[in-house]
Amino acid sequence: MNINTRQTGGVTVLDIDGRIIGSESLALKNIIDGEIDSAEDGEVKMLLNMKHVRAMDSSGLGIVIAAYTSVQRKGGRIALLHVSGSINSLIVMSKLLTIFDRYDDEGEAIQSFQ
């Protein structure tokens, strides 16, 4: 898995490339935790770009959920961009459709944080 981190309109965008599976997911967890820890209270604005995520398992989903709950606690917001077929199914099966804000357009997603 490759993760590229960039700032757009005050939002931290993580472009994730590869599989969020097994031990590979740890890299994502570490980067998300680092971003949350270093942000001021109430200021976490994070967009996970899943466009190039080929597969995700329940531990990968667990990392996204843990990020969501940490951000809830600290104040701020996390959203998902370009959630594709099999990852969408995973979210649907897990009954988490209403939990995550999902976007298919990056501009719109960034706007939603303003």
């Binding site: 097994g22 031990s23 597969a55 329940s58 990392i63 959920i65 709950t69 099999s86 897990s94």
Partner: protein, 163 residues
């Protein structure tokens, strides 16, 4: 679609019995794999199961479901069964039948009781960061059964043409 080709119910029936005959004649192909118990080796499982479902002609959706279920079973065997102790082995058996794929995953742990695992769809568990693996296996496969006190999980998925 097959019905149109064969035209009458009588012909359809004869097609079915021919197919059943073929099932009896064809040897199932069995592939064994055994690995050190480390989630590092999930890539081996991922690649072999992807190739097998492709070879068997499962469609994209079924392939993704099987892939997910097998990875969940492997991670459970590595983590919960064998405590990520890479000197312990995890065994995989892939049975490529004409009508269905069976995957058996066996670890060297003490097992567990499926009944005592909490329901991840219960509202109080919905935001937990773990506990969805078995539920996903059961959702993605046609059948999931545990043997050997929980050390062995057996999962079956039928080909759409066989349903």
């Amino acid at each position: 679609m097959g019905v149109a080709v064969f035209g009458s119910q009588a012909n359809l029936d004869s097609r079915i019995s021919v197919r059943n005959l073929q099932v009896k004649k064809t040897t199932e192909h069995v592939i064994h794999l055994d690995l050190p118990s480390s989630t590092h080796f999930i890539y081996v499982i991922d690649s072999i199961i992807s190739e097998i479902v492709n070879d068997m002609g499962f469609d994209k959706e079924a392939s993704e479901q099987i892939n997910l279920a097998v990875i969940e079973a492997a991670v459970n065997a590595f983590k919960h069964g064998n405590n990520e102790d890479s000197s312990k082995r995890t065994r995989f058996e892939f049975i490529l039948g004409r009508e269905e794929l069976t995957v058996i995953v066996e670890d060297q742990g003490v097992g567990f009781n499926r009944e005592s695992v909490a329901d991840p769809l219960d509202p109080s568990n919905l935001l937990k960061s773990s506990g969805r693996g078995i539920f996903l296996m059961e959702t993605c496969m046609d059948s999931v059964t545990y043997e050997g006190s929980g050390r062995i999980v057996k999962m079956v998925k039928s080909k759409p043409s066989a349903i």
